[in-house]
């Protein structure tokens, strides 16, 4: 049950990181749900790649699964990146602009 323990430990860690004040079961359940949503949706979305290439998608799904499980308290990381600071927002905005232009410009030829 090593995996289960890992999950349990990470959840305890989440509990500590989200809020310092007394916790109710709400917060923990919320964090768990968030965690599971992120993992499952990411993996399911990665499965969409099977339409492009089966082998590549298998590799990507496996890599993603390992990466997600080893970085387990994901929600604190998401919260940290989704903060209200203008600098973070601008960084992601410009990053997305670059990604969108590259993806669409080079993607047209391949898909």
């Amino acid at each position: 049950m090593a995996f289960y323990d890992l999950l349990l430990d990470s959840l305890k860690e989440v509990k500590g990181k989200i809020k310092k004040d007394p916790l109710t079961s709400d917060n923990v359940s919320g964090a768990t749900a968030g965690e599971l949503t992120v993992i499952s949706v990411t993996l399911l979305a990665a499965l969409l790649l099977t339409r492009v290439n089966l082998l590549i998608s298998m590799v990507i799904v496996l890599i993603l699964a390992v990466a997600l499980v080893t970085n387990l308290p994901l929600i604190p990381k998401v919260i940290k990146e989704e903060n209200n600071s203008l600098d973070t927002m601008l960084f992601y905005v410009i990053l997305t602009l670059g990604i969108v232009v590259c993806l669409i410009y080079w993607g047209v030829g391949y898909v």
Partner: protein
């Protein structure tokens, strides 16, 4: 001529946009950030005007004494110019609102640093 005027103007507009984006991301002073944003606007407007340019063309204003066919053949494309007129005004008004907000926020935070003024809010 090394490069024709249209292409050179397009490159200039690209340079303005890149400089503006650089300022918006990397400069910490909020007023400089806003100046950078005004450069982005200016670059985009320049891009639009440069699209309508015609090498060796004439200004798209129909004056008495011109024949219609020669006017159509030679005039620059007037549509982008008409669009840019509106766009310039929008840019100026947006800039004015942003500067007004900066003035209000300066009274509260006493700094022009973006990190201090518009950082993560702790509630």
């Amino acid at each position: 001529m090394i490069m024709d005027v249209q292409l050179a103007s397009l490159f200039t507009s690209g340079a303005l946009i890149v400089i503006g984006l650089y300022a918006a991301i990397f400069l910490d002073n909020i007023i400089k950030k806003i100046i950078g944003l005004s450069f982005i606007e200016e670059g985009v407007n320049l891009f639009l005007v440069a699209l309508g340019y015609k090498l060796g063309g004439i200004v798209p204003i129909f004056l008495p004494g011109m024949t219609k066919s020669s006017f159509y053949a030679n005039s620059a494309y007037p549509l982008p110019q008409a669009l840019v007129l509106t766009s310039i005004v929008i840019g100026a008004s947006t800039l004015a609102v942003m500067l007004a907000l900066v003035m209000v926020l300066y009274k509260k935070h006493h700094t022009l640093s973006t990190k201090a003024m518009l950082g993560e809010d702790h509630e």
